[in-house]
Amino acid sequence: MDRYLKAIPPRAWYVAAGLLLVVYPFLTNDYWIDVANFFGIYAMLGLSLNIIVGYAGLFNLGHAAFYAVGAYTTAIINTTFHVPILWLVPLSALTAAGFAYLIARPILHLRGDYLCIVTIGFGEIVRITLVNNPLGLTGGPNGVLGIGRPSLFGLIIKQPLHFYFLIWAFVLLIVLGTKRLEESRIGRAWNYIREDALAAAAMGIDVARMKLLAFVIGAALAGVAGNIYASKMAVISPDSFTFWESVVMFSIVVLGGVGSIPGILVGTFGMFVLPELFRGFSSARMLVFGAAMIAMMIFRPQGLLPSQRWRRAMVDETVGLPAAGLSKTS
């Protein structure tokens, strides 16, 4: 099947995807538009985590913390000072980035699973802090209520359709931005570090600084997603930022294809839209999720739509295996 997919020029894909994106909300009802809205928010989260996990190779299982910081920044400042939501986008990005800077700095020398465990810890610390209502800011387990709606050129964005265009505009911006980063010296440096940190350092790359940069940028984008989520829901509570959320984001990156932007979108679809399609079987959801995870790791460990680099790496590896000789018989 891969062969037929490759025969289609990439531009045709972009045009088709763009058309579908514009036409889609007019073909369905509000419910399905909202599904697409959450798809968009999780796509943003997946893309932001992809910078940390996919490009720089840093295992982060506490990404919901940055998402929470962004959402609460927007919620608290909007409800107390009535600052317009969209003005708070950069501020949410900044607070999430600042928070990432503070927590990532001391732990970046950790490798692989050690880093992973520490990030799980940070994620939980943030969630529990939110529950404990420090200084009466976060509203405890009930969260923050009555968050305002974003408005753009006098239009108050309230209906799912309006949110749809706002959210997907952000998704497209983030896709474009991460694509450009990927193809720059910064993106390459992240890849070098993921491949071999010592060799990267010997080539003059400041490994600690670049890792920190990946964390900060990834967190900033998660903060943006948090801002939009807060205004979309109008109510946020610590329940929205549990460890499970971090797991979902991590799964999006791993299932979709580490380091691949189209892969992230496919992964988000798999993690978020498919369960929605099969809502009728929701009691079996975890069972299917577990089985799907195992199947993926066995049959397609590189993800559904891996980056060009990983695809080539995987293909080349199988060529080297003795089993490749089997293909002669077919």
Partner: protein
């Protein structure tokens, strides 16, 4: 003028003195070989000079500038590039991308430049590619630039490591066993490459076990044994040095 000065460099691992009071100098434009039996401390000396390990004692200066205490990437920026004994390429990246890594520390565009694709950023990307092309052509790897590094032959991987190190525009290039695992033809190509690199004005320090290579290319040789320098001189002097012969072949026992 001396490019590199190593002074009483010492490193202990537990009770073992891996490198002990190592002192030597490298003049600009020289090719210096470093030899010694296995476990003599050659690679440790490399790791101390390039900042991978901190020394217990002693100093390293590059053009009068002390290097001890600097991180590996800072030392690379100051002009020391190296290769590794066990090849450490970016295996799943292309040959071209591997060599482009060397230009990272010579370029400055940040996140904003990349996001906005400013003209300055695009020009910088072009110079990165041009420099990478220059290094790849020098190492005769230009034709395989789109291959993944891990698919290259062993000899080509060794050359790619050298090309990658060259892309940082080093003053001193440190090669850790560049001929290790190469066949005769590849070794001969390597010697040509090393001489070509020297002609472009880069000073070279190399560890090598292949005596034909090291004696052929080196102006001067430093011999280590048990972490200490036991001899230094021209290839001819070193070959006839009694202590060197003992280190390699063992001492002759008196017959009773």
């Amino acid at each position: 003028m001396n490019l590199l000065e190593v002074h009483e460099l010492t490193k202990n691992f537990g009770g073992l003195a891996a490198v002990k009071d190592l002192t030597f100098q490298i003049a600009s434009g020289e090719i210096v070989g470093m030899i010694g039996p296995n476990g003599a401390g050659k690679t440790t000396a490399f790791n101390l000079i390039t900042g991978i390990y901190p020394p217990d004692r002693g100093g390293v200066r590059l053009e009068e500038r002390p290097l001890v205490g600097l991180k590996p990437h800072q030392i690379a920026v100051l002009g020391i590039a190296r290769t590794f004994q066990t090849i450490r390429l970016f295996q799943n990246m292309t040959v071209m991308e591997n060599v482009m890594s060397g230009q990272h520390c010579r370029t400055h565009q940040g996140v904003l430049g990349a996001l906005l694709r400013t003209p300055k950023q695009r020009r910088e990307e072009e110079t990165i590619c041009e420099e990478a092309e220059r290094c790849l052509r020098l190492a005769d790897l230009w034709l395989v630039r789109d291959e993944l590094a891990k698919n290259l032959s062993y000899g080509a991987q060794r050359k790619l490591e050298i090309a990658r190190a060259l892309a940082t525009k080093p003053k001193l290039l440190m090669l850790d066993e560049p001929a290790g695992g190469l066949n005769e033809k590849e070794s001969a190509e390597l010697m040509d490459l090393i001489k070509q690199i020297r002609q472009s004005g880069v000073t070279i320090l190399l560890i090598e076990h292949d005596m034909s290579v090291v004696m052929n290319v080196s102006d001067r040789i430093v011999v280590l044994d048990n972490g200490e320098k036991i001899a230094e001189g021209t290839p001819r002097e070193v070959q006839t040095n009694q202590r060197v012969i003992e280190a390699y072949l063992g001492r002759e026992e008196d017959d009773f």
